[in-house]
């Protein structure tokens, strides 16, 4: 039996095979979507560049050389140099690590919190629902960047605090989605049937409801990645995120603002990086939405 047959068989012989078959079907749907493939390539590129930054970057991201400040892009410095003579390409490459770290940490903190709050709220209803949704509404009623600004101002500038602030501002949207999904699931007959088997509420939420919310959550988080990157860059731009000399893209744009008319490359190159990565996550999120939507397949 070939691998393809093993994956697509309609009579899997084990739990592992059934799981692999499902992953295979999702991957094939994803591969059929060209924009999603572009997104995957970009995001994969981001991960690889971040992983191999020390080998890819031609120079140190913090090494200053005042004798070659503000040089335009050339064969030697592909993206030019900044006001302290640092190679911008090297800084953009090292910046991928910071961006990836922010994105990953926010996703790891905000998505599970939102998922659990939303599922508990939707499943139990009543006063638990009113309390939790009241709380999320308070957070949702304020613009994200402003709220993040307020938190960073209170916690103090720095990249860790920026991550915490962004996570605090993003979970309410996930809680809303998870609650809406839970409301449609909780009265399903399979939930009733599982309760009749004697399952606890904890088991029903964790084993039956959360897995059904996760696919829309993954899509939403991926689509939000662009916004998270922009918020992080915005905080960096305002001097509240990563602190110098860290090569954070938003902070780099902020430094380049002073020379944007005469030395355009200083602000533009990190700007390109932000746009490219944001677009990558958007494409990937769109593709995932089509591939993971259970209504999309029979």
């Amino acid at each position: 039996m070939s691998l393809a047959e093993w994956l697509t068989t309609d009579a899997p012989a084990s739990r592992g095979q059934a799981l692999a078959g499902r992953a295979h079907a999702t991957a094939r749907l994803l591969a059929r979507n060209p924009l999603a493939m572009v997104g995957i390539v970009i995001v994969l590129g981001l991960v690889l560049v971040a992983a191999f930054a020390p080998w890819l970057a031609p120079e140190s991201p913090v090494g200053q050389n005042l004798s070659r400040r503000l040089l335009p892009p050339s064969a030697e410095h592909w993206m030019g140099t900044d006001e302290l003579g640092r190679d911008i390409l090297s800084r953009v490459i090292w910046g991928t690590r910071i961006t990836l770290m922010i994105v990953a940490l926010v996703a790891v903190i905000a998505a599970p919190v939102g998922l659990i709050v939303g599922a508990v709220s939707g499943y139990f209803g009543g006063w638990a629902d009113r309390l939790l949704m009241g709380l999320t509404d308070v957070f949702l009623s304020m613009p994200k960047l402003i709220l993040a600004l307020a938190f960073v101002a209170a916690l103090g500038p720095g990249i860790e605090n920026a991550v915490i602030a962004i996570a605090i501002t993003t979970w309410p949207a996930y809680a809303r989605i998870a609650r809406a999904e839970t409301l449609t699931i909780r009265n399903a007959e399979f939930v009733a049937a599982t309760r009749l088997l004697g399952a606890s509420h904890l088991r029903i939420i964790a084993v039956h409801i959360l897995p059904l919310c996760t696919s829309s959550m993954i899509v939403r988080v991926t689509l939000d990645m662009a916004g998270i990157i922009l918020t992080a860059a915005g905080l960096g731009f305002l001097g509240l995120g990563a602190q110098p000399p860290l090569p954070e893209w938003g902070a780099m744009i902020s430094r380049g603002r002073a020379f944007v008319l005469d030395q355009w490359w200083v602000a533009t190159m990190p700007g390109f990086a932000i746009i490219l990565v944001s677009l990558g996550f958007c494409f990937l999120g769109d593709g995932l939405r089509d591939a993971l939507d259970p209504k999309g397949r029979r």
Partner: protein
């Protein structure tokens, strides 16, 4: 001793959803091994009786006893081991992302039963071979799904099975298969059935007695022989029976 054991005893059951009363003053006894049908039009409260027994409609007054043990108002583990329910819609009663194996194993795990053989044994009892064990619901037909739902209800070895229109969502040809399966399982496992349906031929095939419900009350309890000779006491039961006969003659002239 030939004394009959009462599997299910319902006394003066009144169930409400908020302000509206769906069931009023229903009393019914089902002996062990017996098969009783609740029939009536939609909205007559017959499904609500099942929901009250299982604890899915917790807002009720009166008394419900299962094998002599009074029922609480919520589903519980002790109930799960003696009484299970098969739902109407096999498309809605199976989790779309869980394999047949996961569904059946979970029931065992909740009750701390370590018996991997029981999954395949229960599957073969409902007429599904091992090929189906690791399939997802979307890889099954409606009839196969309903067999899985029946397997889930049976895997804890309950003695009382509540059937909520178990065939009405299926094709006619598949209906017959599922009805035969239910009849065979009852004989093999000595099960007690409480069946809810609006389909009188199903009652004739599967049950010994039927209780006719209307507007949340039981208007009459009759032996299944009444379906053949039309010997119903209540005028509503007679009209329901006449209606069903008319449908039958229209269906095959």
């Amino acid at each position: 001793m030939g004394r009959d054991v009462t599997a299910l005893r319902i006394r003066d059951l009144t169930v409400s959803y908020g302000e509206t009363r769906a069931v009023e003053g229903v009393s019914l006894d089902v002996a062990e091994g017996e098969s009783v049908a609740l029939v009536g039009e939609s909205g007559s409260g017959k499904s609500t009786v099942l929901k009250a027994i299982t604890g899915l409609a917790p807002d009720w007054t009166g008394g419900i006893e299962i094998f002599g043990r009074p029922r609480g108002h919520r589903p519980d583990k002790a109930l799960a081991a003696t009484c299970q329910m098969v739902f109407q819609d096999p498309y809605g009663s199976l989790h779309p992302r869980r394999t047949v194996d996961a569904v059946l194993t979970e029931a065992l795990r909740i009750h701390g039963i370590r018996d991997d053989d029981r999954v395949s044994r229960t599957l073969s009892e409902v007429g599904l071979d091992a090929r189906f064990r690791f399939r997802y619901p979307h890889q099954l037909s409606g009839g196969q799904r309903q067999r899985v739902a029946i397997a889930r209800a049976l895997i804890l070895r309950p003695r009382l099975l509540l059937l909520d229109e178990p065939t009405s969502a299926l094709d006619v040809s598949v209906q017959a298969e599922i009805l035969n399966l239910l009849k065979r399982l009852r004989a093999e496992l000595g099960l007690t059935y409480l069946l809810v349906t609006h389909d009188l031929p199903v009652v004739g095939f599967l049950c010994e007695r039927l209780a006719v419900m209307r507007g949340g009350r039981i208007v009459e309890v009759a032996p299944v022989a009444a379906l053949r000779d039309g010997a119903f006491a209540d005028p509503y039961s007679r009209s329901l029976h006449a209606e069903s006969l008319r449908h039958d003659t229209e269906a095959d002239p």
